[in-house]
């Protein structure tokens, strides 16, 4: 059964259908309604790398829909340290579960797991490769705020070189005709092959080092964390990172409906003063991880989401 390894596994129409399902599932995600669409189904959470939000939101998504979850647990205490191959681990979990969410430090691990498995695999991050379930929740958040995914101006800022989140999102936004601005220090620019790939697919891409000069006509500003260990010395880090910090004072001339997103965890790149502005969207974005994954699991398990969730759902 097919899973979600990269965003190329979904057509634009399928993406929109899943986002529509997610919109209807919002009261279930919030715990206002009980709708056990996945009762009797089991999700296998295989996180070979640390994860907080992704792992917990998969688990919450499954449980909100009446399903259950088994966890690999700490890799240090699993068969992996005894030298078990990914193939063997997947063979085992494939027999225990109906669907698998996975994060792995090696790139290509999710596709490898899908080729080894009978059940659908959801890629929760493979090395510096893809993170399509994050992209789904990002798209959900953008559409929730703007009512559309089409024709928006989106600024992606910070570490664009190593951030798999921004790679997957750029590809997806290109498919919906967004104008993309990549604002980053030279050292952390979006990889050349990704930029040329996006342009080949018709993307309108601008690359700049000037974040603050790019935000006033943006519909979305997507911030990412700049990690100190990427730089040769601390002075260089301090100089670069300083130019990619947002403060409430910087937002006086931005569009009123502009949203600021961040995959979290943040460090200094979004000052706490931004949290109370109407533009702060990152905590809502983190919550949307649950509802987007609920809709995705239903889609992959071919469980239809009722058109009228309110009448189908029960009181908790």
């Amino acid at each position: 059964m097919a899973g979600l390894i990269t965003m190329d596994d979904l057509t634009n129409e399928q993406i929109i259908n899943i986002l529509d399902d997610a919109t209807r599932l919002l009261p279930v995600a919030k715990g206002e309604l009980y709708l056990p669409l996945l009762q009797g189904r089991i999700l296998g959470n295989l996180f070979f790398e640390p994860s907080t939000r992704t792992r917990m939101s998969f688990e919450t998504a499954m449980k909100r829909l009446g399903g259950d979850v088994v966890n690999l647990g700490d890799v240090k205490n699993s068969s992996v340290v005894k030298g078990e191959t990914l193939f063997d681990t997947i063979q085992m979990v494939d027999g225990y579960t109906d669907i698998i969410a996975m994060r792995h430090p090696r790139q290509g691990a999710a596709q490898y797991a899908q080729d080894s498995a009978r059940v659908p695999i959801m890629n929760g991050g493979d090395g510096a490769g893809h993170h399509p379930t994050q992209t789904m929740l990002d798209l959900f958040t953008i559409r929730q705020a703007h009512g559309t995914l089409e024709g928006l101006k989106v600024v992606l800022a910070g570490d664009l070189r190593y951030g798999r989140t921004v790679h997957s999102l750029s590809h997806a936004l290109t498919r919906f005709g967004s104008e993309l601005v990549f604002a980053s220090p030279k050292l952390l620019k979006m990889p050349e092959e990704i930029v040329s790939d996006l342009r080949e697919h018709g993307a309108n891409v601008v690359e700049t080092e000037d974040l603050l000069g790019s935000i006033n006509d943006a519909d979305v500003v997507y911030m990412t964390r700049i990690q100190k260990e990427r730089f040769a010395d601390e002075d260089e880090y301090a100089r670069c990172a300083g130019a990619y910090k947002l403060h409430a004072d910087h937002l006086s001339e931005v569009k009123s409906e502009m949203i600021i997103m961040h995959p979290l965890p943040r460090v200094d790149e979004i000052h706490a003063s931004v949290d109370s502005t109407r533009h702060a969207c990152y905590f809502n974005q983190a919550f949307n991880g649950v509802v987007a994954r609920m809709a995705l699991i239903c889609y992959l398990l071919k469980v239809p989401v009722p058109m009228d969730v309110e009448s189908e759902g029960g009181v908790i």
Binding site: T6, F87, P105, Q107, G108, A109, Q111, Y112, A128, E193
Partner: protein, 158 residues
């Protein structure tokens, strides 16, 4: 200059393999991909940049006393997908072999990306590369999706 004339630049072989219509300048790459080099004991003749009606210029390799296997043809497909391969027995063409570069190359070479899941030698699934385009040759790993550089790939022959 005729094709026949080009072939006569090196002597005819009694038994072995002739690889003709190799893109000009690629013969050394072909030998490297096939693992035929200084250490192999079979005689090898090589001509480079000879005129060709079809290609403008081409390279030719003659390997004596060795017939290419299917696995070697699959490797050859990556470097010279339009080459012609003839098996020679008793100075005559005994067989013409077809090179086929399809949409995927399986268990011929290993992905060159150091963090690809397939770098774990104990993982049992086949090494798979997808051919995105033939000309220019554009190949990506089926698993990690990384584009593959041919010069690097030659070092990763299975």
């Amino acid at each position: 200059m005729s094709n026949e004339h080009s072939m006569r630049r090196v002597t005819a072989i009694r038994n072995g393999t002739v690889i003709d219509h190799i893109p000009s300048g690629q013969a050394l790459r072909v030998l490297e991909m096939l693992g035929i080099g200084g250490k192999s004991s079979v005689p090898v003749s090589l001509v480079m940049n000879v005129p060709s009606k079809k290609m403008g210029a081409k390279d030719i390799i003659k390997v004596e006393d060795r017939e290419l296997t299917q696995t070697e043809l699959d490797r050859l497909a990556l470097v010279a997908p339009d080459a012609h391969v003839a098996i020679i027995r008793a100075y005559s063409v005994a067989e013409k072999l077809t090179i086929n570069l399809g949409s995927e190359v399986s268990n011929v070479v290993r992905c060159t990306f150091s963090n690809c899941i397939t770098t774990n030698h104990r993982e049992p699934l086949p090494h798979r590369l997808k051919v995105i385009s033939r000309d220019p040759l554009h190949i990506r790993c089926h698993y990690c999706g990384r584009p593959q550089d041919l010069d690097e790939l030659i070092k990763n022959v299975l």
